[in-house]
């Protein structure tokens, strides 16, 4: 367990418990607060989950009170809660306002339904985890044989080794230790410089978005290029495209995950 986080949690819990008892809903489920869903779950429980019924005003007040009294030292923790409060307020407003027809966004009902689902799921998994932990656990409730006798097994190890292997290894060893000519082969790679040059030269020719792979130099080299070279070319070309995008000479777009990369020249008029 991450020490730092544990400590954080402890501090947080401690601080929260320091808050005066009373109507503050957040105190109710204080022993395990970790983040937005947790708090929301506690709230949802007390306010019967129906998000439409949640009083945003009360909610916000509770949050403010909670955050203030908890003296949350970690800003990001506090931010978590604020984010959720803001989100709830937003959701509430969406629920209250007449629905706009927008294809882009989920309707407020859908969002609320989703959130409700998430809350119920978390609650259900918690119940399940409680049931799991309340099962008879080995070495806690039930016990295995305390003095197992099993492994007086005499293992007759049969070592697998052929004479061939023995000689092979010895020869390899000798070869390794012999003074031998060492040649380091030049590795065939398509360098980044080559790729950059190629891309810069060709991108001007393309008018519109072009699949990056169109620039692959396989037209001249042919398909007999070895696989590792092909890979090298692709990698370098891709890196070159990133480099060009970074320096503002080109734009890249990918419309779907693992989809083709399209590139086009930036028409900068400077």
């Amino acid at each position: 367990m991450n020490d730092k986080e544990t400590k954080e949690q402890l501090e947080f819990t401690h601080a929260a418990q320091g808050a005066p008892d009373g109507e503050a809903v957040l105190i109710l489920d204080i022993d395990g607060f970790e983040g937005p869903l947790d708090v929301l779950l506690a709230l949802a429980r007390t306010q019967k989950v129906d998000l439409k019924q949640i009083s945003i005003l009360e909610l916000v007040q509770q949050f403010l009170k909670f955050v203030a009294e908890a003296k949350v030292q970690k800003l990001e923790k506090a931010a978590d809660y604020l984010v959720m409060a803001a989100w709830l307020a937003y959701l509430k407003s969406r629920l209250l306002l007449p629905e706009e027809s927008s294809e882009e966004e989920l309707s407020a009902e859908e969002m609320a339904a989703r959130l409700t689902y998430q809350l119920q799921r978390l609650s259900a998994i918690r119940d399940a985890s409680a049931r799991l932990m309340s099962r008879n656990q080995l070495r806690r409730d039930v016990f295995a044989r305390g003095m197992p006798e099993s492994v007086i097994v005499t293992k007759n190890a049969i070592f697998e080794l052929s004479l061939y292997d023995l000689l092979r290894v010895y020869a390899d060893h000798k070869t390794r230790n012999a003074i031998a000519d060492i040649r380091i082969h030049k590795r065939d790679v398509y360098t980044l410089d080559q790729a950059l040059e190629r891309l810069k030269g060709m991108i001007g020719l393309a008018v519109d978005w072009t699949d990056l792979y169109q620039f692959l130099p396989d037209s001249n080299t042919g398909s007999d290029m070895p696989d590792n070279m092909k890979r090298s070319v692709k990698a370098s070309l891709f890196t070159a495209s990133l480099e060009m995008a970074r320096s503002g000479k080109a734009e890249i777009v990918q419309k779907q995950v693992f989809g083709p990369l399209f590139i086009r020249k930036t028409d900068r008029k400077d």
């Binding site: 991450n2 959720m84 998430q118 998994i125 070495r139 806690r140």
Partner: protein
């Protein structure tokens, strides 16, 4: 007569072991024609009312002290490493949702997962990596181990408490991790199909 002898052998083997043994492993020590399952059932019955029971766990067989005597024995064993609530919840999510990715665990819990939690669960040998998912980033998935089943006295993960209820309520449907962002109105990522296959240069091999 023979049956008694075979039963004795099974009894001795199981009694001597502190881990569950499969009926296949037991059969290795017996003549081929022995109907081992029947003998195991008889043995189980013989021990049903005793202080030690024969239980079927993780698809294997094991002697254990009777659960109702837990109160007596508990003091014998001191160490009871308590898991944090976060760890317990994470374990539950992994066991019910497996194989499940880290992001999915975070989505269900609504908070990010500190690295230490998975470590603790792995150290306890309750969870293990289950291979990578074929989605972008090829995230590692996690699932439970045999040790988990043994510890919680389950014959298989199908026997997890409340599994059918959770399933019926739709809570074990695929977790959509893109929902994590509560504020942002980002649309869920669509169709993460097996595009990986056609990506020549990517992570493959």
């Amino acid at each position: 007569m023979e049956t008694i002898e075979h039963t004795r052998i099974i009894e001795a083997l199981l009694f001597a072991s502190d881990k569950p043994l499969s009926s296949i492993a037991l059969a290795d020590c017996l003549p081929e024609e022995v109907q081992i399952d029947g003998l195991l059932r008889n043995l189980q019955e013989h021990y049903a009312e005793r202080g030690v029971n024969l239980v079927e766990i993780a698809g294997k067989w094991m002697f254990q002290t009777a659960p109702d005597l837990a109160f007596l024995l508990r003091k014998e064993v001191a160490e009871d490493k308590r898991l944090s609530r976060a760890a317990v919840e994470t374990l539950a999510i992994i066991s019910y949702h497996q194989p499940v990715t880290r992001a999915e665990i975070e989505e269900v819990r609504g908070v990010s997962l500190s690295k230490g939690i998975l470590d603790v669960l792995m150290e306890a040998e309750w969870i293990k990596p289950m291979g990578r998912r074929r989605t972008p980033g090829r995230p590692m998935t996690y699932g439970t181990t045999e040790n988990f089943l043994v510890h919680f006295g389950l014959n298989s993960i199908k026997d997890l408490p409340g599994l059918s209820e959770l399933k019926a309520a739709g809570f074990l449907a695929n977790v959509n991790t893109s929902r994590l962002n509560l504020l942002g109105d980002e649309k869920p990522v669509e169709e993460q199909t097996e595009l990986l296959a056609e990506l020549p240069g990517s992570a493959g091999e």
